[in-house]
């Protein structure tokens, strides 16, 4: 079960890095730099802060669910 927990923590580290990247890095820390890039009527930094980060959040949870369901099966701890 140590291995199960370790793999779980690995997934968490990756997914939470993406979570941090799209909101804090793209939406806040680098917002001015990204705002110089435009696609359509959106400035990219602004778009991440008010749209993109939220889409990624939703996707992240569903990816997590998939990964964990597979992991549970692999270690025989699913229900």
């Amino acid at each position: 079960m140590k291995a199960y927990w370790k793999e779980n923590l690995g997934y968490l580290a990756i997914l939470l890095s993406v979570w941090f990247l799209v909101s804090y890095v793209f939406g806040i820390l680098l917002v001015d730099q990204l705002n110089t890039i435009k696609f359509g009527g959106f400035k990219l930094g602004f778009w991440f802060a008010q749209q993109g980060s939220m889409y990624v959040f939703v996707i992240l949870i569903f990816v997590y669910v998939r990964l964990m369901n597979k992991l549970d099966k692999k270690y025989g701890v699913d229900e």
Partner: protein, 565 residues
Amino acid sequence: MGILAWTWILVGLSFALYIGIAIWARAGSSKEFYVAGGGVPPILNGMATAADWMSAASFISLAGIVSFTGYDGSVYLMGWTGGYVLLALLLAPYLRKFGKFTVPDFIGDRYYSNTARIVAVIAALIVSFTYVAGQMRGVGIVFSRYLEVDIDTGVYIGMVIVLFYAVLGGMKGITYTQVAQYCVLIFAFMVPAIFISFQMTGNPIPQLGFGGSGEDGVYLLDKLDGLSQQLGFHEYTSGSKSMIDVFAITTALMVGTAGLPHVIVRFFTVPRVKDARISAGWALLFIAILYTTVPAVAVFARIKLIETVSNAEYSELPEWFGNWEKTGLLKFDDKNADGVVQYVADKATNELTIDRDIMVLANPEIAQLPNWVIALVGAGGLAAALSTAAGLLLVIASSISHDLIKKIVNPKISEKGELMAARISAAVAVAVAGYFGINPPGFVAAVVALAFGLAAASFFPAILLGIFDKRMNKEGAISGMIIGLSLMFFYMAKYKLHWIGDPTVDTAENWWFGISPEGFGTVAMLVNFVVSLVVSRLTPEPPKEVQDIVEHIRIPSGAGEAGSH
């Protein structure tokens, strides 16, 4: 048919639906009362969580806040959605596996201490009461605007409805009414948004529309940046807050969201650990539908408003302007007596005061949508306020009947007695919340936003460490919670409420690290983490059986039913 008639019909129908569901989904046992029997399908739990989560503030005020603050409003958009990622990945599955009824249950058992349990109960009550008072007020305000009754009468009607299904149905009744309320509120929010998006940009999807251009071929966001600067406001797509404060507020809101008891408890209602994970996903999807529409509505409404009123002859303004002037949400003061509306950032020459709530409430009228759409917004606002109020009242009721009475005061209480105690606590909580709704203490509005900081400073570290740090003991967790909570209180009292210190000195210039009270939860949370870790390493490790519990909750299989072990 007029707006008022439509409103009565739509509100009446939605209320009949809620009451019908409440009668059908009565709670028969304390388990049904606390966690809906633990048998709610994940997708329905997701909807219920979304309705529970999205309050009158999300529905009515959020678009207005974003509308007036532009980029700065992003803290709420990211903060109130990003917290679900933390919840889904770090807390929900493990708390579901733990399988009890309440958050203080987890804290009390994991930290093998009734002191920890009591600290958690107190924190849960403080957080929930500050939050619920605002909701009851919200119910009253929506009633008064749409049904033309006074605010107090509105609060009484809201109390009766909530009393009916929270006391009778408990979590089971609340869950299924929240599912219905989600449907009502999302429909009510999206219909006008889609209409307006199509009207202004030719694209029916608001999320895409606000990146598009209007008839003149200018991108809406560029146009709004230009208009804002012309009138002396800051550019819409860039902010006026400091980066560190934006960072801190976003974190406090995210972590606070993950630590709010009325949100966490929703994940106790599903049958298995994997259901807890996926229902967090559904919840965020359902929330994101509204939250990604909000910034679009904010842009549409602001452009429409500026274009309609700025430099317009007062006598020639459309009818809705007069209607909303009557409610006091719009105020025109012709300072230079030229009969023309000057709407500018400069306070000395600005002649128009706009309440931010109008951006959602009046938007359908400004866009000249049909009467039934305007009435729908009222029904949606009520659904949002009622569903959140009910969820919070349940947390308050179970904190008292389960965490205090059953676990501490009288462990021998019978099942029937506990259910009765839960119902009485719910009724008392409704009465207290209603009282605060009718006589709002001046500080409520200021404190609601800080409920997140309080939750971040108290629950989040204690729960997270309880799962991920096997070595964490009661000494560490209790001292962390108390110090985190006290620090947050101190900062609130000093910089927000001005109960202590000198108001002339305690201004924004003197905030610690330049962080506002709204963002200070982040600092208090970090202090909580540090204190917990240091104290726990200096005191004895937790007993073997507690360490076994931690091992046990990390493995998803064998969750069983909530409360059965």
